[in-house]
Amino acid sequence: MAAEPLDDYIDAVSKALALPVEDAWRPAVRANLEVSLRLARLVDEFALPDETEPAPIFTA
């Protein structure tokens, strides 16, 4: 079992994306991911109407 809660996730995504994460980098990657997810959760918590369009709109 991984030592940190995010380690299993990092392993899985690393494998899925064929994106290497060496052991020496793991603490920094984990720390950065924790920040990214914390900030993403801050956005996630903000309720938006279902009809909200994302900012970039494709123009055909």
């Binding site: 920094a28 720390a31 956005v43 903000f46 938006l48 994302p54």
Partner: protein, 464 residues
């Protein structure tokens, strides 16, 4: 006549067009200053001396032949090294990109500056792949602050701030995704313009975050900033995000009265996590403009969070192959941030882009009742190179994560901003003059008025 370091672009262009100064002499003077001072400032990664001399000679030939020359005739300028410069590999602050083939054609903005008579003298140091607020670079060394060379120039357009603040060139170009024009402007005590998203073409510049990338100029006077901005405007089919609006020159409008403009102070998020010098600078600007109303920009902290999420994920997408193939050639700090960015679930990124549209509507509402918002450009003056934390009200905070907290919520929705330098002692600091979309004219007019009042000014470099 000889070109003095304190000469602004407008002075040089006037002297060159009038025959009192040759373009070649102006160019040689800049090259000499670069040679003399850049060993300390480390602003330049490439000096394009021969190209510059050839361009300058061509301008002098035109003048001798009585031909009309552009508004920037003979004005030396330099560009952040993520702009394509024909004949150079566009390194974008990285080690990896040095292996790219040399660019075949200049970036659009370089072409437009040179069409107006400006003379490119080189490419400038920057944080790796523009993912930086410090101006430090593990491959090329840090660009240094011209007012105290032990301090940061600010990033990621650090070389641009250092070169203009250090009077090596009167104008430089840079990029701003989350604050990379406004932060170096603040730390180096110069004027910087981050235009409306889509205003200036990004064609043939190395990208970072397509949703948020802007290009713009730096200068030591508002007149020079407007001159550069005006000649770079215009549609460009080579940048899919570039506006199709026509030219909207600001130079003729700069001296118009600002007495009818409604100016407010950005509150809430923009008044938190600030050092006394930022409070003092905003206070001076507010007093000069007669601004007393404080407007709380709703959800600005969340906007900053959403900008962070979009940045780290789009940045990761851009560099995914390089992260797979050459991870050890990155700055480790940049690499680890980008790898983490690749792991953020897509649903959260989509929500950040939806939030962006919501937040844009809130600011549009605010700009129905005001013309200008003022806010700090940085929470503090330039930190020491390598500084990790700063202490604010007894709380230790990480420097890197907090330098851009006041710029990110503004570029997030592409609003035009002029960063104006307030010449505090011992170090200058910038204030953001923020206007509604496509109203660069308003922000530049206010900046010009502040300059005329002596509230905003680029202090002479004295750190080297």
């Amino acid at each position: 006549m000889t070109a003095k370091p304190e000469m602004n672009a407008a002075d040089i262009a006037k002297a060159v067009a009038g025959g009192q100064l040759s373009a070649l002499a102006a160019t040689e003077a800049a090259l000499a200053r670069i040679k003399q001072h850049d060993t300390i400032l480390n602003a330049f990664t490439d000096v394009t001396a021969e190209r510059a001399r050839a361009k300058a000679r061509a301008i002098d030939v035109d003048i001798a032949a009585g031909k009309k020359v552009g508004p920037l005739a003979g004005v030396p300028f330099a560009v952040k090294n993520l702009f394509d410069v024909a004949g150079l590999a566009t390194r974008a602050g990285s080690k990896i990109n040095r292996d790219l083939a040399p660019a075949k054609r200049d970036a659009t903005l370089i072409e437009r500056m040179e069409a107006a008579g400006a003379v490119l003298v080189g490419a400038l140091n920057m944080g790796e792949y523009a993912y930086d607020f410090t101006g430090e670079n593990v491959h090329d060394g840090p660009s240094r602050n011209p007012h105290d060379t032990t301090r940061m120039s600010g990033g990621s357009s650090g070389g641009s701030g250092s070169a203009v603040g250090g009077a090596l060139v009167p104008i430089a170009l840079g990029s701003d995704t989350n604050g990379s024009i406004r932060v170096p402007s603040s730390f180096c005590g110069i004027f910087g313009l981050k235009p409306t998203y889509g205003r200036l073409s990004r064609a043939r510049s190395f990208p970072f975050v397509a949703s948020l990338d802007h290009l713009g100029p730096f200068a030591r006077s508002v007149t020079d900033l407007a001159l550069a901005y005006d000649v770079m405007q215009g549609p460009d089919a080579d940048d899919g995000a570039c506006t199709t609006r026509g030219l909207e020159p600001v130079t003729p409008l700069l001296a118009e009265s600002i007495s009818g403009l409604r100016v407010a102070i950005a509150g809430g998020h923009f008044q938190k996590n600030v050092f006394p010098e930022a409070v003092e600078a905003v206070g001076r600007v507010a007093k000069a403009l007669g601004a007393t109303q404080v407007i709380d920009v709703p959800e600005a902290s969340r906007a900053r969070a959403a900008a962070y999420v979009i940045t780290t994920t789009e940045g990761a997408s851009l560099h995914l192959d390089r992260l797979r193939q050459r991870p050890n050639d990155f700055d480790p700090a940049v690499r680890d941030r980008l790898i983490a960015g690749a792991m953020v679930p897509a649903a959260l990124v989509d929500r950040a882009q939806k939030f962006r549209r919501w937040y844009r509507a809130q600011l549009a509402e605010i700009f129905r009742s005001v013309d200008v918002l003022i806010a700090p450009a940085t929470p503090c003056t330039a930190p020491k190179l390598g500084q990790v934390n700063f202490n604010l009200d007894g709380v230790e905070l990480p420097v890197r994560a907090n330098i851009g907290i006041h710029t990110q919520p503004i570029s997030f929705i592409g609003l035009p901003v002029v960063a104006v330098p307030v010449p505090l002692e011992p170090l200058p600091i910038g204030v953001q003059i923020i206007a509604a979309p496509w109203r660069e004219d308003v922000a530049l007019r206010v900046a010009y008025a502040l300059e005329q009042m002596g509230v905003a000014a680029a202090p002479a470099p004295r750190g080297f």
